[in-house]
Amino acid sequence: MSTRDNILQAIAKNKPSLKPAPEIVVPSEKDPAILLSQFSKMIEVMGGSFTITDSMESIKEHLDNDSREGNYIVNTVPSIGKIEELINKESAPDSIDNVHKAYIKGTLGVAENGAIWVTESSMVNRLLPFLCQHLVIILPASQIVANMHEAYNHIKIEEEGYGLFIAGPSKTADIEQSLVVGAHGPRSLHVYIVSSSL
């Protein structure tokens, strides 16, 4: 008998009688103004920064300014500028290592913790949101939900090969509990919350 069969057999023998799964009922705030306020506050609590805007033009301007400064900026959001063609799903890590700033689109925001669900197709390459020095996420304000229960009601985690909740820049407190922002991943996270749809 294989290890697999041994383990499964041992479990079948040792497991207790079937207990029912609970029905999860948790109250959720629905007011968009309250959600927006809570979400933006939590972005800051998690070490990020935000701008609320109704103008894709203003974001486009920021992107243009960034690019003019001479740093390697990668944009993956069609509505705010030219897409970086050099980076795709199969790009090697070395080609992403020198990205200074990356603009990617967020799918959903969670008000209770400032987290944003980002899919593999949005980020184009799995390393992009991690190796860039600074990360910028564009998120529609209409896509902010109250809590994680709501979030999982709205997303299908297996739809793509990889997806994640990003909440703030990379950080660590492993050296005598002193918070250091920018552990291995981005040193900053800025979120543009857009009140019109993209």
């Binding site: 609970p22 999860i24 090969g161 990889y162 492993d174 991943g185």
Partner: protein, 458 residues
Amino acid sequence: MNTAVKDHASLSEVFNKDRERVTWHDETLWFVRKKRDLAAHSIPEWEQLREYASQIKDHSLSNLDQYLIEFEQRAIENGCVVHWASDGKEHNEIILDLIRKNNISQIVKSKSMLTEECHLNEYLSEHNIKVVDTDLGEYIVQLRKESPSHIVLPAIHLKKEDVSNTFHEHLGTEKGNKDPKYLAGVARSVLRQKFLASQLAITGVNFAVAETGGMVVCTNEGNADIGAHSAGLHIACMGIEKIIPKAKDLGVFLRLLARSATGQPITAYSSHFHKPRPGQQLHIVIVDNGRTRQLGRDDFRNSLKCIRCAACFNTCPVYRRSGGHSYHTAVAGPIGSILSPNLNMRDNADLPFASTLCGSCTNVCPVKINIHEQLWKWRQVLTSEGYTTTGKKVGMKGMAFVLSRPGVYRWMGKTGRWVMRVFPGIASNKKFNPWYKQREMPEAPKQSFREWYLKKKK
């Protein structure tokens, strides 16, 4: 680890030699507990969430084989390769085999308590294979050739000066520069090169979702992701008990995990892995290593619900004042003390006794494990299996004899009081009277309360 395993009492005696340091360690961990409290109290439905999490895990364990089969099926459909390991040895061999098959030499690893439990790094080292731990705390202790002392905060026992000295010795940082930003910055550069060059990334699994075949990995640093997304081979290691039934269950667990662990509402990264990226291999190793045995123990099955948050560590007065290394196991603290005896009763018989049974651990556990009750129950099991020390056995039997015979009890009291008055040296001899190690002896009264009361009655 050598075969002469010292026990918690003697190891913590060493730890306690530096009283200032112990107080600092105590306060640091209590501060983390306070952050957990702030986070928990900010959620009105916190207790309800704990109950949901507990029930989801109870349900999951009662249907574990079916969920594992479902998980494996989905994972294979997603393009993953699934391995099963009965114990640590088999787990290590599977990984070594994959390393050899793929001609791998550059390996990075993010936090996995399971790989600590299986002693993976030591095993690979014996085969001349080096693994770099990339979580900053684990990287630090790896350089120091120590084991992590806390499952969430691996270097909590170290001060800035210690890290500075270690980095100066191994990475050539400025001597005496203990600025955390500077030190973390150096680690960032060094480890980025390791990530980019990595051929194998080993990660743990916080939650394995049966419904989708996906694995969730939570970090603040992003190190699990950078490794997994750079390396051509990603191996995710999980114990069988990491299974949860459905994606929506993650809503409950991700609300509880970081708040219980560090007081954060969520970690910076909560990554959901389903498929390997183009051209990559994604392998999953599902490990038993005593978990099916624990599953069969009615009294201790609940311990398998653990989500490795370490809230119990942070609140435990004994852990705070003895440190993780006093527990001589991969997982220390209260939860370690009810998991480890299942792995090896002889070596870990001391651990359930490293407790005052105050119950604080049970109180903070996000999945409602009755830790303090299990600590007490393990004491019964270990004693009847013959694993308590002779001293303790004789002492307990002696105490039972005296306390159940009022005449003997009174005579012992009278003699004891007489000895304390006439031969005070005996009572203040720490070898003979362990009670005196941390306490003053009271003044021995001339008569007992009973004697006084009877006299007064006349």
